[in-house]
């Protein structure tokens, strides 16, 4: 195997391994939040404004 062959094989495999590791790390470390169950302040009806006048 030539030096160029080693370099290309090493760099190809390393690049792919780095990319897949980065992506899987990001995916697996994200908080598992179901967005549909989250409510922002504007979504929560506290009914305290119904008789504001």
């Amino acid at each position: 195997m030539t030096l160029a062959g080693w370099i290309i094989m090493g760099s190809s495999v390393t690049a792919v391994l780095m990319l897949v590791s980065f992506c899987l790390y990001r995916v697996l470390t994200l908080p598992n939040v179901d967005v549909d169950r989250l409510h922002g302040p504007s979504d929560i009806d506290t009914r305290d404004t119904q008789n504001a006048d």
């Binding site: 030539t2 080693w6 899987l24």
Partner: protein, 529 residues
């Protein structure tokens, strides 16, 4: 998993990523890629390969994910509906016919190859493949019935027929269970198992040393050199660039109509930017890090320069060269079983994904329940599978299906999708939509590439591909009655799908589904003003 609205959704983020990656990882990663690389300049092939990945593969994946979720959040899971949401034109839904036909027809022959893989794995278990003086070329020819039509129905092939039927049914059992409990569950188990099996075989190959003392030059390092040593002259050959682009394209399952369907089950704030990139990178891991280090080096270590004669054929490399390798390797029976079982897993995670786009269309186009849509699709695909399995002589039916649908139509659909994304949805809207809930940023130049470069690139691939191959296949159709029958079969399927799409479109219009979407978007626009 069905939501409160009754629509199906993925159960987890990693689940959808593994499902898309499972759909993409198939026999091509382990058999087609190494053969193409070895034939087209070895290591030099990786330059056009990675350029194609960055310019064509990943951007097109993002476009498909974006359009899929865009259509899904507006109530459509099938390509005819999604395309009409993206491009409000009466013709848009008919282009979706390509995205139904491609996975359905590919399933018709892919499930047969899947059954071969399982059959080979079982033959290793029973010791049939490790008998002394086994002629693997002859074994393959008999196994697939290449010498005469209807060979699968011969009395001595009853077990193969049974195996084929079981694999066919297994796919439908999985798809019947739904997106989350069927596809996602399968991929969550099968993908890690596939990686483990491939790594075990890889370790075995890389520790072979020089197994034949009479041929000390046939070592692991020489095998890796056979695959990876660059031949820079090949970079000046346009065929190398065409082969690299084609491999990226087929490997990532771009233009199959599957990603659009899968992404349509995402919720509005589910990430697609990171998920799309992750599924591409998982596919590349299987292709470059495993496929690139196992298949061709192993073939060279045992077969020497003879390995070159197998690199041009996926079936030759997978079902002829590698059994020769396992026959000469210590523990070959065990490693042969692992290898072909791994190929079976790669195939089933792909084949099961090919059924879902049509199931989704039947459900939302005609209001069918899951059992009815699965039964109808089962009937249609059983006819197609039966046709391909029966006309096995020379694998003409399989080859005809693969060329016209598995090659030409895929390029056409990708072209349609890139134009829909870049010019109908618009790159500004696409960019904004892609970043809804995104965990990484997609650079703006990707959108520019999708609008201007990708369609041109695809046309540049499609035209020479057709010029080089269509005349040969057209000649085959004129001479071979099975090839002609196959084309007629495909024409009937396409006509049937177009009629179904027409009826579904009328139902959607009568139900006011698009008018309601238009109204909602007008309200949103007024609110923004």
């Amino acid at each position: 998993m069905a939501s409160a609205t009754g629509r199906e959704h993925w159960g987890s983020r990693i689940g959808v990523i593994l499902a898309v990656a499972g759909s993409a990882v198939g026999l091509g990663n382990f058999l087609r890629f190494p053969g193409l690389a070895a034939q087209n300049g070895g290591g030099a092939f990786m330059l056009p390969y990675f350029i194609s990945l960055l310019v064509l593969g990943i951007p097109l994946c993002w476009a498909e994910w974006t359009m899929g979720r865009y259509g899904g959040t507006r109530g459509f899971n099938s390509a005819p509906g999604v395309f009409t949401v993206v491009w409000r034109h009466p013709l848009a839904k008919y282009f979706g016919g390509l995205a139904l036909m491609i996975p359905m027809v590919i399933y018709m022959y892919y499930v047969l190859i899947e059954a071969w893989c399982l059959g080979y794995a079982l033959s290793y278990l029973t010791g049939e493949m490790t008998q002394p003086n086994q002629n693997f070329s002859q074994f393959f020819n008999q196994f697939v019935g290449i010498e005469e039509d209807g060979a699968l129905l011969a009395p001595q092939n009853r077990m193969r027929l049974l195996g084929f039927g079981l694999v066919f049914v297994l796919n439908f059992v999985l798809i019947y269970r739904g997106v989350s409990k069927g596809i996602e569950l399968l991929c969550k188990f099968a993908m890690p198992l596939m990686a483990v099996l491939a790594i075990i075989v890889l370790v075995r190959v890389l520790t072979l040393g020089a197994p034949d003392p009479s041929k000390p030059e046939q070592t692991v390092v020489a095998g890796l050199g056979f695959m990876w040593n660059p031949n820079a002259e090949k970079l000046w050959d346009p065929a190398t660039w065409l082969a690299a682009s084609g491999q990226i394209f087929f490997s990532l399952s771009v233009g199959f109509g599957i990603i659009v369907n899968y992404a349509s089950y995402l919720k509005r704030n589910d990430d697609i930017a990171l998920s799309g990139l992750t599924s591409c990178s998982v596919n590349e891991f299987f292709e470059v890090c495993l496929g690139g280090l196992i298949t061709v080096p192993a073939a060279f270590i045992f077969l020497g320069d003879q390995a070159a004669q197998f690199t041009g054929s996926t079936f030759g490399l997978g079902f002829n060269a590698l059994p020769n390798v396992f026959a000469r390797m210590w523990g070959g029976q065990f490693f042969g079983f692992l290898w072909f079982f791994m190929l079976f897993l790669a195939a089933i995670t792909s084949s099961v994904s090919m059924l879902q786009p049509v199931i989704a269309f039947l459900e939302e186009g005609f209001g069918l329940r899951r059992h009815a849509s699965v039964a109808l699709l089962g009937l249609i695909t059983a006819l197609g599978c039966g046709y391909v399995a029966y006309f096995s002589k020379g694998l003409v039916a399989l080859d005809t299906f693969d060329f016209w649908v598995g090659s030409v139509m895929i390029l056409l659909l990708a072209l349609v999708q890139s134009i829909l994304y870049g010019w109908a949805l618009g790159i500004e809207r696409g960019h904004k939509e892609a970043h809804q809930g995104a965990h990484i940023r997609i650079p703006w130049f990707v959108q520019l590439m999708l609008k201007y470069m990708v369609p041109v690139y695809l046309l540049a691939m499609l035209i020479p591909f057709c010029v080089n191959n269509v005349p040969k296949y057209a000649l085959t159709i004129s001479k071979d009655p099975v090839a002609l029958g196959s084309i007629l079969f495909l024409a009937v399927i396409l006509a049937f799908l177009l009629v179904m799409i027409h009826i579904a479109g009328k139902r959607w219009t009568a139900d006011g589904r698009f008018a309601q979407l238009d109204l909602e978007e007008r309200k949103k626009g007024e609110a923004t003003l």
